[in-house]
Symmetry: D2
Subunit: 339 residues, 4 copies
């Protein structure tokens, strides 16, 4: 941490700041300029709030220098994390992995049809919600355990990995037999109790960026999972909330290279939630690949107009097939591949 004192700070004020820095575990190096005194705190105390210093008498500015995450930082594993799944699929390697399927599992027929369609076009994971976070209590809330069983059955039948959203602690145990990867939704990115429990699970987790989460907050939430011992975490950019209302969210494509730069964890893009509009999904899916993502999460539905949720942002199966062809070309341009 660096604390710059005001030009007219008194010696007493300076000593107060120094003693507080020492209290929390810093070694303090002092630079007394003709105009301004600067205090550099060296060392890394477990936790402190830089805002406390910003308000102390005589302080002009205080800045934290070290990042508050450790395990999630690129420095922890400079070569990058590759997550290996049972059937040999790897996320974080040379190949870009596509996860696709409907927003919600609606019926046996719907999910089997979906699985066949996304598999045919090259998806490696089938996505589908069994527990649905809906802003209205009156909206469809998912098929629950029945949906999970259908997912597992079709996954096994078709050779697809299964990813599905977990919304609370009690569902972790329940979902373990059915899913290959837990998905944490944007609304739960800071549900810290849930993250901590997922850190104890031995199953990969895809963590979505919250709708107003900073890059640093995403990495701190990942840190909750990693610090429990579960290192198989993927991050996912899915659009942030801005003033622009034409799209449901504003997909922050720059978050993809930024997260890759700051962290060793694989980074995916979700252009379905990122845009909220089927007609924009292909452009943003291509952009995600061009920007360096390790995978994509996309909604595809056999009949989007009849979908019980998120129909507007679900691709028609034939759109998905065409898009996959385009993505293969873009992947080549960035020296990656999509099988």
């Amino acid at each position: 941490m660096i604390v710059a004192m005001k030009e007219n700070a008194t010696e007493e004020q300076i000593q107060n700041v120094i003693s507080r820095m020492v209290d929390i575990g810093f070694n303090v190096h002092r630079t007394t300029g003709t105009q301004q005194t600067v205090l550099a705190g060296v060392g890394s105390p477990a936790s402190f709030d830089v805002q406390d210093f910003q308000l102390m008498s005589g302080v002009a500015e205080a800045h934290r220098i070290t990042f508050p995450y450790k395990l999630a930082g690129r420095g922890f594993r400079p070569e990058g994390t590759v997550i290996r799944f049972s059937n040999g699929v790897e996320v974080g390697g040379k190949e870009i992995v596509v996860m696709a399927g409907p927003c919600s599992v609606e019926s046996r027929e719907q999910i089997f049809t979906s699985a066949k369609q996304v598999k045919a076009s090259g998806a490696k994971f089938l996505r589908g919600g069994a527990y649905k976070p809906r802003s209205s209590p009156y909206s469809f809330q998912g098929m629950g355990i029945e949906g999970l069983k259908l997912l597992r059955e079709v996954g096994d039948a078709m050779g697809l990995l299964i990813i599905s959203e977990v919304m609370e602690i009690s569902q972790i145990e329940l979902m373990l037999p059915y899913v290959d990867c837990f998905q944490v939704g944007a609304r739960n990115m800071q549900n810290f109790n849930l993250l901590r429990e997922l850190g104890l699970a031995r199953r990969p987790v895809l963590l979505k960026r919250g709708i107003a989460a900073t890059i640093e907050e995403v990495l701190l939430s990942a840190e909750y999972i990693l610090s429990g011992g579960n290192y198989d975490v993927m991050l996912c950019e899915r659009g942030i909330r801005t003033y622009e209302t034409y799209t449901r969210n504003t997909m922050d494509i720059s978050a993809i290279p930024v997260l890759k730069h700051l962290s060793h964890l694989p980074v995916l893009g979700d252009p379905s939630h990122g845009t909220g509009r089927r007609d924009l999904v292909p452009a943003l899916a291509r952009a995600s690949v061009a920007a360096g993502c390790d995978g994509l999460l996309m909604e595809v539905h056999p009949n989007p107009d009849k979908a019980v949720s998120d129909g507007a942002q679900s691709l028609f199966p034939e759109q998905f097939a065409t898009l996959m062809e385009e993505l293969r070309l873009v992947a080549t341009a960035v020296k990656r591949s999509i099988s």
Copy 2:
């Protein structure tokens, strides 16, 4: 719902839209203009997504007209909700109720000192976190059950009501003996499973606005609690995330009169989180009262510079005492009072 077709929409496109509207439960009134056909959906289907219609062929625009919340809307109780607590304190009545105390319960001495100080200045509730949502897994996470016991003890001793944050379902049962009011933090505003369970609890709930939640989303989250049968819900504006970084958040003072207008639920302001800076808390507390809030939630600490969390936004006890005097004057100007 209103669907305006494009000028060149075909009859087939129009019929497709009509049949989908009928499918979900609308009666459809059609207006065929010389330029444009407009379809008005009358009735109130339990749940539908207006975005589905926006993307249908031939559609220019689709707008939902009815609000998706029912119990939270002003129309449900035009006279406004007044929540009555055991000791006679009422939230939502003529008196503006102040809830104050430290961010976290840290020790017996700290919480007793805090209680005495806030009580002396006129607070009716003691606030204090026993379970703390912290962005970093390495930060202090609260005293847990020990903290709750201290809160109850001091509350009983001093005649103060107790409000404390609940972070997950398993804590509800655990906290019931100790708190007079549950607080749902901004990060959990859309933790729907938690909200649903709180709807079944027989204890008032203060629901904070999420950091990027719209007014409508706040009311839909309240609806989750109300629809479980728990009608004692208070809303709380605590700052939203914007591009401005001088303050921790941007306190949306206009949300206070807007929520009062749209809903019958009492509305509080939290200028401590709203600004993140002690020096700004008084101005925003006064502004909240001037704008019509029913109460305030504020952080006060016996020694903010030694607080384990949120010290920068905690008032000194003497600041709080002065502020309470100012607030009493502002309350008079809006025909309210603070005892």
Copy 3:
């Protein structure tokens, strides 16, 4: 400026940063820690970009410490600026000054009626646009010079000061005979050529915060005017753009005390543009006064439903009269007055 080097920064990288700091005029104090080297740049070079340093090899973080504005900072005039107008009205003193009137001057009758109404309720300035910045080229663009003449005539007749918006350089000369104060709208807050010319004018300027301007950018724009020698500048918070759409803008009430803290310039609030809705204007006007503003700018129209622009946010004259009574009470609570 402070530059913190990465833990593994090489001596060559450190020397590169030092030499670049020296190049732009800093004296550099170096602190070599066991883990990290910190460079403190002392002195105040006229202009530099801290981002340049953030990207240099071996740099972990770079922070500018000194504020880039000088004349606009509170330190330049710690006692605060009071702007005195010809008729003895002062902005920035104990009295809170109200400026009111229609969005646009529409006709002789409309502006005379408006003037009489706002004067009767206690306004000191008549506001009214003669040149209107409209997002659509097909909207009413103002009466121009004819509108200015009407403003002057009615101002003289009624003893009201005149404030009106200037949109480009050529209008400055033109407007000088007619207005007592120039208003720079939010869209022109960073029209630097215009600001520079206003710095040469000998007439007070009210500078509105841009719709997405940071506090620092507001003060830098004020600096453009001040640095030309015109020190009679008022700042005005009028709402910023956020994700919330219920209100036209989100009025950042905290900007009022923040600007008062950082600068010596008077600060006004504009709840009409801040909310965009007549029904919210009174609450936010009261909040502005409670938060410490030096004045208010409000739209009032003899018949808002017939206004050619901004009718939805214009108060009815009787609403304005009632509001002024409330504001007088709130002013007392903060030891100010409204005549």
Copy 4:
């Protein structure tokens, strides 16, 4: 326009709304439902404010249906606009056009070196600022006319088209002999007087999206230029302001396909301002091409560490050369080319 009345609206309220709709030029179609009356306004009045209706007594919601821009809309020229320059370069055709060069013209040597470098890698336009909008009055403000002369000289010598920023009306005449294309910066996107004058100029204009401008506002600003008779307008996405501070702005890649969908005008991307960081420019440049842009505007400097402005976001010449190779591959994937 559609106006939905409240369920309990009186006949008098309905008649008031109808008569106001008729006043501004609508034909009104009324649908009287059992619960709710809906009024559809047919026709297209030159200009009206939908907010006026939202606040009328008895109104539940009011929505404008028709877009307020006409000439900028896709319907005006469904096949898309192609802008042809003197040397045969076309923007809006199959080829993606790259405009590159330093932020500011600094010296004869710098601009000649820049021109040679960007030309060698395939740029068709040389960019360089002669008039610079700087937030601080103490920053370098550009070389002015001398800079323009250098641009023209080097453009002619190297066969590069010249694009440079215009900041105010008086500069239009002055710049005409020297530039092939005017650039309107983000801060001037709503400087309507400037836009109107550019509508009278016979020279293409590149219009940058304002830092907080909606898609609709971009198109309305374009409409100002088009309505003056100048149809050679290009739009440019350059990042919007959000809560995220890791990047200078958040580049809204989805704006590229959205603007292409709504308008016939060519759309460019500016990843330099979009990110503010040289290390992110390549990823976002590739993403822009993958998302369907017609061109790119990028800052390249012979020696970014010595640049007088925007050095942190300027590419090194060798980075630019490598990037251009990557872009050619991505262009192929979307059936476009870069020569």
